[in-house]
Symmetry: C2
Subunit: 106 residues, 2 copies
DNA sequence: TTAGCACATTCGAATATGCTAATATTTAAA
DNA sequence: TTTAAATATTAGCATATTCGAATGTGCTAA
């Protein structure tokens, strides 16, 4: 039925389910950056960031543009940021909830 | 620095990165359901849905309430639905984009 | 107390993922 | 055309995930 949709949705989530890729997405929030800029911002080694960028590009979450010997990456769908924000808000609430719980437990 | 946030965020995404769990979340959109209701809605066998529910509960994405021999699950943070919707919108755009591209390629 | 649902847990095999190190490709400039 | 910088790709290992089968636990009704 909708199974296919859930699978594709899960694929996107799987792509987002990595701290380095989330950091890359966050770094692209305000516009494009090339690979070495991203690598130094997120402190990820060259091969590894390239692998993550390849995955993000394959899943059509980022798009690229070449400028000389540099390749610039940007978010293909900037509204993705909003989804990330919602999840981080939930995360904040979860953490706040734990604190309240911890206090109550004492 | 923020690395910890990205890791926790990734944990949530990882929890969402499974088609069955997404279907369960979707099934809880309009309110709580017990395990067998969820199992029949999503056509997932008993052991397996229980495993997925355990994961969702551990990650504090759903919460539970017992009523006799039944256990009811609901979304702990219903705003999670909104994040899912955004991602599905992006998915739609991606698919639409591919179609346009396919046409252009012809 | 026992029988029988409703649900959870454990185990093992198959598969997927992330990382590092090494190597390759592309481009620009000398 | 050689060299160096920017980026990509590959190989291989370690770790994680998913699933079904089997088994365990909690609740209710008789």
């Amino acid at each position: 039925m909708d199974k296919k949709i859930y699978e594709m949705h899960a694929e996107i989530c799987k792509t987002l389910a990595n701290p380095k890729r989330l950091e890359i997405i966050d770094a692209l929030r305000d516009g494009e950056k090339n690979v070495s800029e991203l690598a130094s911002t997120a402190k990820i080694n060259q091969a590894n960031i390239s692998q993550h960028l390849t995955i993000l590009r394959q899943k059509n979450i980022v798009s690229t543009r070449r400028d000389g010997s540099h390749i610039y990456y940007k978010l293909a769908y900037p509204e993705m940021i909003k989804a990330c924000e919602i999840i981080r808000d939930v995360l904040q609430k979860q953490l706040a909830g734990n604190t309240r719980l911890s206090k109550r437990v004492k």
